[in-house]
């Protein structure tokens, strides 16, 4: 049996209540969402907050909805809800592809979008997706709300722009009509964290890429993305050659370290291979959308 160090527990009744509890307890307090990252660390005594502020009752943080030309995902939306969301699947199949390979059904039933983002594990999948889709993170504190682009959200491994006394309330994604998206991940076993993962979201018009988003996880890509490769592709035809060049550029911009998931040369290779595969499938999907629209 694993035993966490002594800890207090309180259940917040609203976001405002949670914020005031956080303020009251300072940096000894931690929010408890799905608990699938925090509780294991507490059981191993790698984390020892003095008080847990449980935000599972906060319905204001739940739900996936369309708001104007954005899709909004609440912080307390679970992985399982993202996996099964028809709205997300319609606009961004990348979510379903990524969620299928995040952890296992038990973790997905409890683990949340907000918890994943704030845990900010370097191999976290939704961060790679968020980078590819150029989402915007909404953070709330006692003073009010502020927004941070996904691509500026991470400060480093396990560090984000969410400060003590703040709550991530939602992430907003711009809807890109006609886009194609895809996610690729290599794991040693289903349910394991990524050895490397890559996602892509592209639009094509006039036979060339009109927008390109690349997200790369687990290989120390700056802000989970590869801006050089993106810039290279915009305005270019979606040929195998162009995609391969971009994938190589993306891989070159990563700086993976060796661990038991694999040596650095392999991870770098994967960054190339998976970016290539994700871009290829995303481009095919985008073209398909385009053709359907033309044909209709």
């Amino acid at each position: 049996m694993q035993t966490p160090a002594p800890v207090d527990y309180v259940r917040a009744t609203s976001v405002a209540d949670a914020l005031s509890l956080l303020q009251q307890h300072g940096d000894e307090a931690r929010l408890l969402a799905g608990g699938h990252s925090l509780l294991p660390m507490m059981k191993l005594r790698l984390a020892r907050p003095e008080i847990l502020v449980d935000i599972n009752d906060l319905d204001e943080l739940r739900g996936i909805r369309v708001d104007g030309n954005e899709i909004v995902i609440g912080a307390m939306v679970t992985h399982a809800e993202i996996l099964n969301s028809p709205i997300l699947f319609e606009h961004y199949p990348i979510f379903r592809e990524a969620e299928k390979v995040i952890a296992d059904p038990i973790v997905r039933n409890k683990g949340t979008m907000g918890g994943s983002m704030c845990q900010a594990d370097p191999a976290e999948d939704l961060s790679a997706v968020g980078a590819a889709l150029r989402g915007t993170v909404v953070i709330q504190n006692a003073e009010g709300r502020r927004t941070v682009p996904m691509r500026e959200f991470h400060e480093g491994p396990y560090e984000t722009k969410v400060a003590d006394g703040e709550i991530l309330v939602e992430v907003r994604y711009p809807i890109l009509p006609g886009s194609g998206s895809a996610y690729e991940k290599v794991e040693r076993r289903s349910g394991d964290w990524a050895v490397c993962a890559a996602g892509a979201c592209v639009t094509i018009s006039g036979g060339v890429f009109s927008s390109v988003g690349i997200g790369i996880g687990a290989v120390n890509a700056e802000h989970f993305t590869a801006t050089g490769a993106e810039a290279f592709l915009v305005g270019k035809e979606p040929t195998a050659e162009n995609i391969a060049t971009a994938a190589q550029m993306a891989a070159d911009s990563c700086d993976p370290s060796a661990d038991q998931r694999g040596p650095a040369d392999y991870k770098k290779h994967l960054a190339m291979e998976l970016t290539k595969r994700a871009l290829t499938r995303a481009a095919a999907a985008a073209v398909a959308v385009h053709l359907t629209k033309n044909g209709a």
Partner: protein, 815 residues
């Protein structure tokens, strides 16, 4: 002898004898009503936690326990120094800081001088709750002086290597067994060397040499190890609830270790949540819980957490093997020689019969007909956790099967011959049984070619090869891997096989109550295999009592006769035989009672399932239930029966049994990512008579999953600082249903001629046979890249690196 006969069905819907039936124990397991060691809660029970070493090799300069002792709720803190102060009235050392291992080595209960592996036991806290005990562990201050750790078995014997066992006055890291040997050899070294030399000189022959490593893995049972010890001060009786696969052997060891009178020790193994060899050894934690109850006078519970289980209890394998196989160019195998460097960790704690310090590795000559074989095993100490048992591998037959099956595939590649054809050419023929192998094993029975052909037929082997050729032409990489394995299981005979001097034979008792219901008491111990079901079926088969009328008791030394327990697939070969024999004794007693009741001579009676009747007059007879009542009635019993039908037996096996099988695995490899997908797995097992075919299938399913796990992901590696890199389930990967295809099983049935019901045991067959099939399949897929071998586990990075011609050294940290 076989399951071909018609089996009657009981009122409860079960076969009265052999046949598939659901496990009776599942009623409680699927309802969450099992009773495991951690479910045991005694009045006044205290809890405990162990402080473990963060270092792999360090001198202990001082330990300060004062802050821990001052924590409210802490009852006692024990250290190695404290244990050194407790004199032990036994021959096995003079104090409690050290204990004997199952291999006649010594192991620290709590470290005194040095710590010798990361996770080693350093201090033991007893407290009112597990939480307080853990809090107190953090307050213990140990001053360590780190020493250079020896993590690479290949370096352990270097002249300059740090000496790990200076406590024993050693000057190097060699291991000496109880017979004084530093290496363990088997077979004929000279004739094998000569045969290989002849082949090397002969243009019509080839010799293939291949290094293969079977890296360190862990049994990783769902339930970790633990115990609840209770010394009753009034009666002097020690009761130990414990996760043990061998409760009787453990009781004797405790009597020796603790110097307690054996009749005052009761060991109870309640439900066990998986063993796989992990629960054969005696761990410091068990001993500490006993010392804890002696010191405090209260029951003391000790339960490992997952990390403790993975880091400190018995690993398996860790064999670095170099094999040589010689053959003629047309594929007739001539000789095999294997040299092994065996990493035993910091204490030689491997469980195996005393005369077999490398376990049954010497059966490596495999299923093939050739005259010359030899192996040499050199064991070394390293700063890794000690080995409890050669897990789920019939005492290292997994390593043996792996090396020979890899060598045969390497030979096939060298000869450009189909690996199935090469095997068919060399398999032993039915008429060669009983067959004495070049290393001296006497295989009991087998129809190897038949079994192989059944597997090839299920697989559609020729069609698979056609598909593979087409795919290769398209640049797709599928692989087909074969493993043909023979095990030797069911240790003893006792004259040849013992553990710590305890002969490997097993007792049994069968009681038949007046109403004809029965209780069978076993010495072997279920860890989930379904003993409560299968052993009742054996009695049913022999006596005609419905299985639902028979209770099977195991795990409590006060309720069961002495025996050596369950591991190495020995339950069915040993206690399965005992169950048949004790039932036959009951049947003979019943015959005498029936004859008295029917007023005839016992010789005039004949048996049909469940009933003795007069020859030629079937109407006149008594059922076993009627006879049971008569045996307790006022009936005048003849000479030779005083009453009741009960009987006891001890089964001392005349030989091992030799289950075998043919496995075929089909994989698809993505060369861009190195990801391996196991597409199909065909397993045709011949384990002799199948008492419960459904449970046989279950054992095979579990074993294949395990084999896929070992082949593709399971691993305990270490970095050069001595850190264990497999200490959690995030790091030690076990396979899930997602990695396993739907298994395709087949069977042939070749009964063991010397076993009373012809059964051979199947507990480990699939674990033993499957890793080689998976690895052979992946290597077959990679053949177009010129890859002949890469070591397990074949993780994506390892496969990709193999394709690059630069495979990973798997036992050390990836750099």
């Amino acid at each position: 002898m076989t399951a071909v006969q018609e089996v009657p069905i009981s009122a409860g819907g079960n076969p009265i004898g052999f046949g598939s039936m659901k496990r009776v124990e599942d009623q409680r397991f699927v309802r969450g009503q099992g009773n495991y060691v951690d479910d045991v809660n005694l009045p006044g029970m205290l809890h405990s936690a162990i402080l473990r070493s963060p270092w792999a090799h360090a001198r202990i300069k001082s330990i300060d326990t004062s802050a821990a002792e001052a924590l409210p709720g802490v009852i006692a803190v024990l250290t190695g120094k404290a244990l050194e102060g407790i004199p032990r009235p036994s021959l096995l050392g003079d104090n409690f800081a050290w204990m004997p291992t199952l291999s006649y080595d010594t192991q620290a209960v709590l470290a005194t001088d040095k710590v010798r592996f990361q996770g080693q036991e350093v201090a033991f806290v007893i407290a009112e709750s597990r939480y307080i005990a853990k809090d107190a562990v953090e307050l213990i201050d140990v001053d360590y002086e780190p020493l250079e750790p020896v993590m690479d078995a290949k370096r352990a014997m270097d002249p300059g290597a740090p000496v790990i066992r200076d406590d024993k006055g050693q000057t190097d890291n060699s291991i000496t067994d109880v017979h004084g040997h530093k290496t363990w050899e088997s077979g004929n070294a000279i004739s094998t060397a000569e045969a290989i030399a002849r082949a090397e000189a002969d243009p019509n022959c080839v010799v293939v040499t291949q290094e293969v490593m079977y890296p360190r893995v862990h049994p990783a049972p769902m339930e970790t190890c633990g115990s609840v010890a209770h010394m009753d001060k009034v009666t002097g009786q020690l009761t130990l609830y414990t996760t043990s696969q061998a409760p009787h052997a453990h009781r004797t060891v405790y009597a020796m270790v603790a110097g307690l009178p054996e009749q005052k020790i009761r060991v109870i193994s309640p439900d066990i949540g998986g063993g796989f060899g992990n629960k054969v050894g005696v761990y410091p934690g068990y001993v500490l819980s006993i010392l804890g109850t002696i010191v405090t006078g209260k029951p003391v519970k000790w339960i490992e957490d997952r990390g403790e289980n993975l880091m400190s209890t018995s690993f398996a394998r860790d064999y670095h093997m170099t094999g040589k196989i010689a053959a003629t160019k047309d594929g007739k195998i001539l000789a095999v020689d294997v040299d092994v460097l065996a990493d035993h960790g910091a204490f030689n704690g491997v469980a195996q019969p005393t005369n077999y310090p490398a376990g049954f590795f010497h059966i490596f000559s495999g299923s093939y007909d050739y005259p010359d074989a030899h192996c040499k095993v050199t064991p070394v100490y390293t700063n890794k956790a000690p080995g409890g048992v050669a897990y789920a591998c019939s005492f290292r037959i997994t390593e043996a099967v792996y090396v020979i099956e890899r060598l045969v595939d390497c030979l096939a590649a060298e000869l450009g011959m189909d690996p199935a054809e090469l095997r068919l050419k060399n398999l032993l023929k039915p008429e060669q049984f009983p067959y004495t192998s070049p290393t001296g094993w006497v295989y009991d029975s087998g129809q190897y070619e038949k079994t192989m052909r059944v597997a090839m037929e299920i697989a559609g082997y020729d069609e698979l090869r056609r598909e593979q050729a087409e795919k290769r032409a398209r640049g797709e990489y599928m692989g087909i891997g074969i493993s043909f394995f023979t095990e030797g299981v069911g240790a003893g005979p006792r004259k040849d096989m013992d553990i710590l001097g305890l002969g490997m034979a097993d007792g049994i008792e069968l009681r038949v109550h007046p109403t004809g219901k029965a209780v069978l008491r076993l010495s072997v111990m279920s860890q989930g295999q379904g003993h409560e079901t299968t052993y009742a079926q054996i009695v049913a088969h022999e006596l005609g009592i419905p299985p639902e009328d028979i209770d099977v008791v195991n795990g409590d030394t006060d309720q069961t006769p002495f025996g050596l327990g369950t591991y190495g697939s020995r339950s069915m070969p040993v206690s399965g035989a005992a169950a048949a024999i004790v039932s036959r004794k009951v049947k003979e007693r019943a015959r005498i009672v029936a004859a008295a009741a029917l007023e005839c001579s016992p010789d005039d009676l004949e048996w049909e399932l469940g009933r003795w009747s007069v020859k030629g007059d079937k109407e006149r007879g008594k059922t076993i239930q009627e006879i049971a009542l008569l045996s307790h009635s006022s009936l005048e019993l003849p000479e030779g029966v005083e009453g009741h039908l009960d009987a006891t037996a001890v089964y001392n096996p005349p030989n091992l049994t030799y289950p075998y099988g043919a496995y075929i695995c089909v994989v698809d490899v993505d060369p861009g990512t190195g990801v391996v997908k196991v597409r199909r797995f065909i397993a045709v097992d011949d384990c002799g008579t199948r008492v419960n075919p459904m449970l046989v299938d279950g054992q095979v399913h579990g074993g294949i999953a395990d084999g896929i796990g070992m082949a593709l992901m399971e691993l305990i590696a270490f970095d050069t600082d001595g850190n264990n890199l497999g200490g959690s389930f995030m790091d030690y990967l076990l396979p899930t249903s997602m990695e396993c295809p739907s298994f395709e099983l087949g069977e042939t049935v070749t009964p063991s001629p010397h076993h009373p019901i012809g059964a051979k045991g199947v507990g480990e067959s699939a674990t033993v046979g499957s890793p080689a099939a998976v690895v052979n399949a992946v290597m077959d897929a990679l053949a177009p890249f010129g890859v002949r071998h890469a070591d397990m586990p074949l993780t994506p990075s390892n496969v990709w690196r193999a394709i690059q011609g630069n495979p990973i050294r798997v036992d050390m940290a990836i750099e």
